[in-house]
Symmetry: C3
Subunit: 285 residues, 3 copies
């Protein structure tokens, strides 16, 4: 491992919980390097935790160890695992679906169950409520700093045994692309769909083309309008809607310097459906 | 010292104040390692600053230097001090009560007043408003990186001379435990009482037992209900209230995947009283 | 360079964007040291990004590399540049006004345009929307860790060619100081004016003196009251207004342990005007 430990939780940074995790890791290995992915995952939102790993892990070098603790089932029989990605990063996490996107995109090659008899902060006592600090940060730090090997985390289990969240796939049907809003680009209010650039290109999409975009939530029409496919936000007027390729090579929908999510009260998830149809060009135009 | 500097303030992270503290520390010693406890202490809330140190300091190794700046009396005659804990961590702070919990739990063995004639950023000029950067970060960094010794911080004063906030102790009275809500587990809305696990066990508490829990604020009844003592949140239905042992070995009160604090408008402090009484088991049940 | 990279953005920390920047930088150079200035610049607010650099950069040592990405014109023809300050710090940023305050205070001695043909994350593909990660973090990391020299960033351009925001200067007129509210001390609600301590002293200001302070926004009178010039907040009663010298040696206006900005709905910018006039002392008092 490369001595880098990257932490993600839904704990927030307003109390001492994350700092206690840092302290535990540094007590394990004084020279360890610790970084934050984010600690602002909405509480108990495993899907978003999974997505943020997908958004981030590929940019970190081989041998980086991630700890992700979004854990509504803490204390239940859910397993604690360490997964190895196809790019040789490692993720320490409760086995509750956090690896859904990574498994599907980068790939997971090996999974081990954490043996908490040995991989647990000594004298951490009877508190069963703070696995983030006493098991995950402690084990992640020992793994990142090569105090234990991946094998010493615990016994191997089949990759296919890990919990996976339902993850709808986009489809093309009669020239209409059907997908869903996977997640929000929170700060800017942009919508990130699950539609890959390459699938979108099957619509013969070129920059400057117009598309009819429909957003539905359950039985409700939320949005229907014509949007331009732009290379960059600067290609369109302030306040105008656009389709674009986001930093993950998916199709995003935005309002230039506005907030699509706020203006139209759009949220993200499998129940937020998006359809995209290319507008025919008027002859001679 | 171990070259680790951990910062806590009520400055927030939205402006440049904390980054200026980092810059000052790195200018002192390029290799220093700097970490955040939190910078989200509610402004001027010394009690919460004191509690977050208590929650965190014990997890950091010996020789770690903490800087805590929650300082409503900046510029007044309040002293600037460095305290040494019984576990050989050091805390640089205004002497205004920030050490209340650490003094009472880990223990403080020695206190020195910062001599600002020597321990102050050179050329920091006439600004008397930014001690956090010019005195505390600067002195903390010099101490953490062994540029000055603890003794060189300034003259020793009696440990008992430091300011302490009133800190009520829980008591058992006729089989009823009386304590208070010390602090909130902010993100999750759980209540953390000042009642130790060991005192609670004097109620002959076993997992699965039921307790009548009453919360009062000044003359007002805020909450009265039966709660189950659970080993983990997963032992109870979603939305149900429970008592549990928190990560500090205190009794916490929570709603499984809900927010107790929000649902019942509970805050924390000496004026938020909690009483716990064990329910008798029905014969033969 | 000194291997320190300091990041500022308007991305927030709630998703994976900043962590991806960290990952890119660490993949460039495993030993690089990365710090945050802030990621909470209000979205697209170049002025505030410029101000936070001014507030922070001078406290960091020579050879520090800053990356500042507040970029409403991403993808437009705006240039990507690296600027060298008169104190030998470096700032990697879109050329959109972010350097206004630094240019005016510390000074900028040399500017180079980033040659994105060589200074861009390999395989970063067709996404034109995430320059922060693929160009700025990547180039900043390579510069900070001496993989490229400043000269290798790209061709030099005249310092005077960079974009500058309008920046009103305070003036003294008939014994009245006219300035504006440059920015808010967000967390505490204090107002930071653009009036230097030295200019203020031209009013023969002494601690304890009284001043009539008027705040106007466009055609509206927002505030008019007598305020005391205090050495520190502790010199005045709780809830009372005061003038003071802030951590940047500018005149600030505050309410002791209150929030001036919230109480009087004051915001910051060139359109928020402040006037200060010294009250005459009553004879014999």
């Amino acid at each position: 491992m490369n001595n880098n430990l990257v932490l993600q939780t839904d704990f927030g940074l307003s109390d001492g919980a994350v700092s206690a995790m840092y302290g535990v890791a540094i007590a394990v290995q004084p020279d360890i390097r610790i970084f934050n992915l984010t600690h602002d995952i909405p509480k108990f939102n495993i899907w978003e935790g999974s997505y943020r790993l997908y958004q981030t892990v590929p940019y970190w070098p081989e041998g980086t160890v991630f700890v992700s603790v979004v854990d509504p089932g803490v204390g239940s029989e859910r397993r604690s695992i360490v997964a190895k990605t196809a790019q040789n990063q490692y993720i320490v996490t409760p086995d509750n679906g956090t690896l859904t996107h990574i498994h599907d995109s980068i790939g997971i090659t090996e999974v081990r169950i954490i043996d908490e008899n040995v991989n647990r902060l000594p004298r951490s006592g009877e508190s069963y409520t703070f696995h983030g600090r006493d098991v995950y940060a402690y084990t992640g730090a020992r793994l990142a700093s090569n105090i234990i090997t991946f094998e010493e985390a615990g016994p191997e289990v089949p990759v296919d045994s890990i919990v996976q969240l339902p993850k709808p796939e986009p489809i093309m049907n009669n020239g209409v692309l059907h997908g869903n809003i996977d997640i929000l680009d929170i700060r800017f209010g942009n919508l990130w769909t699950n539609i890959d650039r390459s699938l979108f290109k099957d619509l013969s999409a070129e920059y400057g083309d117009s598309f009819e975009v429909t957003i539905e939530h359950e039985t409700r029409h939320v949005y229907k309008n014509i949007m331009t496919f732009c290379r960059t936000f600067a290609d369109i007027q302030l306040g105008e809607p656009l389709l674009y390729v986001n930093s993950l090579n998916k199709i995003g929908a935005a309002i230039n310097q506005g907030s699509f999510a706020e203006d139209y009260h759009v949220k993200a998830g499998a129940s937020w459906k998006v359809s995209i149809r290319k507008m025919l060009k008027t002859q001679g135009s």
